[in-house]
Homo-oligomer: 458 residues x 2
């Protein structure tokens, strides 16, 4: 059965525009609450945001519930139409990455508006998109579209959703749905809408090496005292080639399923542009200038990454100490069919072999995800995008990880689609994160169209 859109595009545009000032004032309220899940001191803000989000739902006539977990709560709610109508569940997260205010042009938790751009931590990841979808749902509710819309707003996504699977299992009956739509992904460029068909997984590690009780004088002890920073640096260089990114840990690529030639060609055909990517992320150079290789590397290849090495002297100039401690912050991005379990096993073994007295601590763990790109929900997503944007979206994979997705696939066992609204220049996880009204307004229209199409899928 072909899906039919009946809603008038101009009416939807008018609706979106009519919501602009409400969108901006609510977004500012949400962004100004510093819901940094990585920072234990922000527990109060997390709680405050959960309550504010629940009120947003009830004020609009939806039900709302703040469900406690062992960690941060999850806010759920719904606009009920009729038990006979199909149900879609929208997933967003309302927690954010940390932000060091001293590095930002504007305070990260005091949202400013400049030329229809919203500046602040969480504007694009993921409060702005969450609010756009919510406003589309309000339209569907007010205009009595024959669809039930549920909301799942997580508050631990940025720390790898450690309690989300448990939450799903505990609340499975409340969460019954025909499909899930995730709005937390990024387009290739402003004029290149994309629908995500796969996500990389993640395994984080802290590698710690302590060789003494205090930093000592490099004149008095240098040559005889061990240097833990240098040993950790050496270990990292044994793990992978920093120039090419090629991982050297035995077994790392064993379960890696390389994308097919067809899929690689799709990546190229998606319209991905190396120069635009480099510019959006403000990078001076890239590991390759070949588009097929580049897209494969960010979307479909696993990585080994070092996020920081701490220990020793970090002030200005050189302080001639031999450090007594070093810590490397490491993660791997994983792709099908790699598993966090296997990575933990081979990495721990490798470290034990190369640097026996270093310890390995596990951080966030997320399985990779790959979904079908051909079912009717994906077709509805594609058609809604075409309708709202006037251009067919590309089906691509995404390099990031959303652990919640794999959990929802496993526990809820329904089709999952991805309709993201963020752009590369919005600065996911970066300083000066931002979002803009163009994408928000487009998102409102997109999701109204999507809800109408889904209402036809019985």
């Amino acid at each position: 059965m072909a899906l039919v859109t009946t809603l008038d595009s101009n009416e939807l545009k008018k609706y979106a525009e009519s919501q602009k000032s409400r969108y901006e004032s609510v977004l500012k309220e949400l962004v100004d609450i510093a819901s940094v899940s990585m920072d234990p001191e922000k527990r109060g803000d997390i709680k405050k945001l959960a309550e504010r989000a629940a009120k947003l739902l009830t004020d609009a006539g939806a039900t709302a519930e703040v469900i406690e977990t062992k960690g941060n709560p999850v806010v759920i709610g719904q606009f009920v139409s009729s038990p006979d109508h199909p149900t879609v569940s929208i997933y967003n997260h309302l927690d954010v990455q940390p932000a060091d205010a001293s590095e930002w042009q504007n305070p990260p938790f005091d949202m400013k508006i400049e030329n229809d751009r919203y500046l602040g931590r969480g504007t694009t990841d993921d409060k702005g998109p969450a609010l756009a979808v919510f406003m589309a749902a309000c339209y569907a509710h007010e205009h009595k579209l024959p669809i039930n819309i549920k909301f799942i707003w997580e508050l631990e996504e940025e720390i790898g959703s450690p309690n989300f699977e448990d939450f799903l299992v505990q609340n499975k009956s409340k969460l019954k749905t025909d499909s899930v739509c995730v709005s937390d992904t990024i387009w290739i460029a402003r004029d290149k809408p994309a629908i995500c068909a796969g996500l990389r997984g993640l395994q984080g590690f802290l590698v710690k090496l302590k060789t003494g009780e205090k930093d000592v004088h490099s004149g008095t002890t240098g040559g005889l005292a061990r240097n833990p920073i240098a040993e950790i640096a050496q270990l990292i260089s044994e793990c992978f080639d920093a120039k090419t990114g090629e991982v050297k840990i035995p077994g790392f690529y064993d379960d890696y399923v390389a994308p097919s030639d067809k899929e690689k060609q799709d990546f190229v055909d998606s319209g991905f542009n190396l120069d635009a990517f480099q510019k959006a992320h403000e990078l001076k150079s890239l590991r390759t200038r070949d588009t097929k290789e580049a897209t494969t590397r960010i979307w479909a290849k696993p990585t080994f990454e070092v996020h920081g090495i701490t220990g020793g002297y970090s002030g200005p100039g050189v302080k001639t100490i031999v450090p007594h401690y070093a810590e490397a912050k490491i993660s791997m991005r994983l792709v099908p069919d790699q598993t966090p379990e296997r990575m933990i096993e081979i990495f721990t073994k490798f470290v034990k072999e190369k640097c026996p007295d270093a310890t390995v601590e596990l951080e966030g763990s997320l399985k990779p995800y790959s979904g079908p790109s051909t079912d009717k929900f994906q077709q509805a997503a594609k058609q809604a995008m075409l309708q709202a944007f006037g251009k067919e979206p590309a089906f691509v994979r995404e390099g990031g990880s959303i652990g919640a997705v794999v959990s929802m696939q496993e526990v809820l066992n329904v089709p999952i689609t991805f309709l993201g609204l963020s752009l590369p220049e919005h600065g996911y996880h970066a300083v000066n994160e931002n979002f803009d009204w163009t994408q928000a307004a487009f998102g409102i229209r997109l999701f109204i169209q999507y809800f109408e199409l889904l209402s036809q899928i019985k």
Copy 2:
């Protein structure tokens, strides 16, 4: 001509004990002024300390002058006996290493006394020894020993004495002397007095690599974006083997003069004890358990050291960014006949080759020093030590660097001796630095004996 001591040991012991409370109150005044030369914000404290030190001299009847340089001033002064008498110049420094109060058991700049131990930054390096020598000089002055004693108190030693050579050249006539004695070195152990016959040099470097304008999302960009921390880590592992300390930069050992078998045996015979060294520096393990190899490594071999790698994420846990910047803080300790110039040349070339867009900035530069161990000034030092301690000192080299020494050798062109008072457990450059009355009292007696012996060298 044999040198003869006539002073009564018991009288000297009584004199030292009589000075204890004065020593402690003045030392506290000096330590409580946070004269951290590495920190530009402490300029006021440097100035304050220079004035306090000058007053210490004039109050005791010596002349004093605070001589400005392009950087921090140098305090000079003298007890004049007669132009016909020999002159010795005592070198100490009154600036100190930085101290992070949060890591210390007691505030570093509020000296506390516990069981005759003096706790605070600068107590052993080098304010405590400076004050002991000064009190010995007061005795010589009061008792009219036939010797002129000059003081050179530097305030930039911990940053590599960048203006000291210039100061020497500018003030050469004022500084005319028959010999120099430096009191800024460390014994092998409390029961193993040592006289230093050589010092390692130093060349510091900052290696900086910038690959973008901001940290970016490792999901979105990882695999394609370069990782500057990993590239710097790889560079370091190419520079040297962190496990053994062996440097791999071509040309590094070209000018290195290995110590003779005789000298290596002297190192072993000095009484150096591996377990005591390990315990004093609170190290979990060492690169070797062989005493000959160990002493050679810290005293007579050059090193490559990493003091810290900054950039990326340094908070708790793992933040999955690709860093955009990394900086390695590096230094080499040099031994005869290595030169800073040659090291700069080969290191810069090596970095350019291995990591072309990294930049190398030069930090402190100090030539290695080696002096004779047989002239009459060394003999006087040895005899004074025997007289005051009852045991012959070992002649060893020292692993640290005192740039001022090489400058004095070159500009003043007179014999230099080293009579240090510090012990390994005093924690040079470490947290909880301390000094003790036993060493201070001994130092007062030692230098009185030394002054008497020097007065006989015409």
